[in-house]
Symmetry: C2
Subunit: 499 residues, 2 copies
């Protein structure tokens, strides 16, 4: 079948025939058009980049009602979540416009010709320039914020790169609608048509990441999906960066004191974090370490009660629902496994909780389970650091402790830091604020990148340095010319602020 | 044979039996020791990193005479060049100590908890932290500056990472002597023993880059050598960054006006750039584009005369000398090929020049030839941009033009920029100044990285971001605590300078 259909996850039924899968020839046309548009987009400099991002925010906002309505039908996510996601995506586009205007990300640096301890030095001027066309993969679980108009797209546009997006099959209608907003933004800002492109289907994915004019790939999704794309990227004659945001257990530890003082309270927050968005968040805590003994028991009793009374939740698509059932199937027969309200129609599943012995984790670390499932591992007093050390790395690591436990928290932080990109204290890792100080990434297998995919520094993924040596002023980018600067620059070794 | 011998390139004879090839078990011991040392090195923070770098500079300076003497015997590079390289390596270590003290590279960022358009935001604090043990590969052609104590080593030490160096077989004695200086520096600064390690031999190289505790690789060398290591890195279960500085034609173009006004002068600089250090520099111009006609003829006549009267030059080792002969062998039968004074004993070779038709470059771009060889391609008026467009990417691209050729230089810059990491105007690309605004890197195949291997920003290769969310002050790195800051930070979105 060469068509992609909208499926309503609540019923599992096809809603509409939405889009055709793109052939490699079509992908080629879209990429070449993007590359052409990219050249004049780059030449136009930062004002046009900011204008496109502001316009993208406006055009998304103007389609809010249609996006929420269509999103409800294609994702079964609640209206409040979809509204929040429109707001987040609009906010992110405007924030990145501000990042472009502020200009730090260019790392503009001037070393004037001068005598140095190494002899006469030439005039050197360095700045980060766009990589070229970027392939972006829409994710199923954030149909806007990590999809067509999401973090990767605005990072690439802010960097000065054209973008070709591979739509996720789970929300083809929403992808088209969001893409319509991006195209309208490009036109409204006066940017060249073709600056953003959209393709559909698995064959298109491979054609896209192996296209010679594609210079980087941004991906959010499963480890296996990411690995397949990474293999395709590695088959290119020229290596290009593949930025994959993949997987993780996101361990959450509860100290003995924290369990004693606020076990049930932690249970409430935890189950909220595990079942929100039906557990389909990359920062969902998959594994919670709870002390043995009555305080830990109380926490788990409350978590179990909450899981058992949570209504069945609808997952995004058939593949995710099937994987969830497979991943949690074997739990059912195990002591300590509990499930929620039985599932209904469509891709609906029961939240589940499994209790295990933490001593088993070193041998068989549990797999991430996408969906509303949670493994609670019971540890013996004093063994927490050892248990953590044996875990694979994650996007996040979370510590619940009491204020007087500084020594333990310091030790746990030391153990968790090599294993996570973000350390959360007395909170829950879901809800990734888009902010300058955000880092959404972590050691393999959570990502394969030294960069974030959320927040302003995500732009660094799509730029590379160029140095001009003894260049005539006329050929230099405006940001590297002598005279007053509108952006922070390092001049002759000193960082200087504008104005 | 399990031993590595010093060879005198001037005679081709073994000088001394210097070192044993490291077994995988020995590599394992060195890496584990480095990883252990790295933990306390990291905890000690920036002052210890700066102290180690300053001490490295002192210890190298203290061994200058021995280094130059041994270097002469193992590399046949002239004394002035070796003295210059000691100075460069010492300067670089001190510059990187300054980079550590200045602290910008940490990208310290604080977003205080606040209400945001996206709702209440948590306290987020982001900083770059060391990756962990780094494998560094010594290069043959810079026996200090890109070898044991070179740019990769000081970048990693500045980043807070322990380093295990794979010595280049061409200068084993010098590698041991330079390593002695590094070990003395580690001791003098009070850093943990084992922070730097040294291994020898090809088997050790593979064991090193596939060791689970190695977190990044820095390599300067040939495309084929880099590709072999990259394949080994890609065989790991966990991807780690491989920073390869590999190859390039480093095209240099001479406009018709420049040829007319200063053809012979350009020829003099060019031949100096091609034959300096016997042409064994990664930024050596391999390909020069010269206009057809009498002005271009004059440039080439002078270049030919200079090449033909250049004495034979001694290359670094047998493999490089053999590759040079193979790469330039076929030139000899071709019209327009010329060679210098016949070669003598050891690894000595004649400089060579080959003249070709630029129209042939698009079909068969010439291979980089390591050593004192140069291809001069003659182009027809008005075809320069088209000829350049067809070339593979390089570390550098150079334009010789006259001051009134702004339009042409702008156009050539546009064409060269996607093909090079550094653009040089009316100069020569050899001589890579260690400076803030330097970039030594470029699109594939010149490197596989978006980073430089020369200059302060090279540190970025060996760090990764971590964000702390709502962390108690006690667990935060000093640089992320509230209060006055000794380093630049971004606080609540605004970049602030210290003091």
């Amino acid at each position: 079948m060469n068509r992609i259909q909208s499926i309503d996850p609540a019923t599992g039924q096809a809603v509409a025939d939405v889009a055709a899968r793109s052939t490699p020839a079509e992908v080629n046309t879209v990429v070449r058009r993007a590359a052409d548009a990219g050249r004049s987009y780059e030449r136009a400099g930062r004002p046009l980049r900011a204008a496109v991002l502001h316009a993208a925010a406006d055009e998304l906002e103007a389609r809010r009602a249609r996006i929420v309505e269509l999103g409800r039908r294609e994702t079964a996510l609640p209206e409040a979540r979809l509204n929040g996601e429109v707001s987040r995506t609009v906010y992110q586009a405007r924030l990145f416009a501000g990042v472009v205007e502020e200009g730090s990300f260019l790392e503009a640096t001037i070393d004037h010709a001068a005598d140095t301890p190494m002899g006469p030095g030439p005039d050197l001027r360095r700045m980060l320039v766009p990589l070229g066309p970027v392939a972006v993969f829409g994710a199923s679980n954030f149909p806007l914020a990590f999809s067509v108009p999401g973090g990767d797209t605005v990072s690439a546009l802010a960097a000065g790169c054209p973008v070709v997006i591979k739509a996720h099959d789970s929300h083809p209608g929403l992808s088209l609608l969001a893409f319509e907003a991006l195209e309208a933004a490009v036109a409204a800002a006066g940017a060249p048509a073709g600056l953003v492109g959209l393709v559909f289907g698995r064959e298109a994915a491979r054609a896209l990441v192996t296209h010679p004019q594609i210079k980087a790939v941004g991906f959010t999704g499963s480890l296996s999906g990411g690995q397949a794309l990474l293999d395709a990227v590695n088959s290119r004659p020229d290596p290009i960066p593949f930025y994959g945001e993949l997987a993780g257990l996101n361990p959450l530890v509860v100290t003995e004191s924290a369990a004693r003082v606020r076990g049930p309270e932690i249970a409430t927050g935890l189950v909220g974090s595990v079942t929100g968005s039906a557990g389909q968040l990359c920062t969902k805590p998959n594994l919670v370490l709870v002390p043995r003994g009555p305080d830990g028991d109380k926490l788990i009793t409350e978590a179990t009660r909450l899981i058992e009374t949570t209504p069945a939740l609808t997952l995004l698509n058939a593949r995710i629902a099937q994987a969830y059932e497979e991943d949690t199937q074997e739990w059912k027969g195990q002591a300590g496994a509990t499930g929620g309200v039985p599932a209904g129609a469509g891709f609906s599943v029961s939240p589940r909780l499994l209790e295990v012995d933490a001593r088993t984790l070193a041998q068989t670390p549990p797999k991430e389970c996408f969906g509303p499932a949670l493994i609670v591992a019971r540890y013996d007093a004093g063994t927490l650091a050892d248990v953590l050390t044996a875990l694979p790395a994650s996007l996040t690591g979370t510590i619940h402790a009491e204020p007087d436990e500084t020594e333990l928290v310091t030790r746990l932080t030391e153990v968790l830091r090599p294993l996570a990109g973000r350390l959360v204290y007395n909170g829950f890792p879901t809800g990734v604020m888009v902010a300058w100080a955000q880092h959404h990434g972590g050691p393999w297998p959570s990502t394969n990148s030294l960069h974030t995919s959320v927040g302003p520094t995500a732009v660094r993924r799509f730029v590379r340095p160029v140095t001009w040596q003894n260049a005539p002023a006329a050929v230099l980018p405006e940001e590297l010319r002598d005279g007053p600067s509108a952006i922070p620059r390092r001049v002759d070794g000193r960082l200087l602020l504008p104005g």
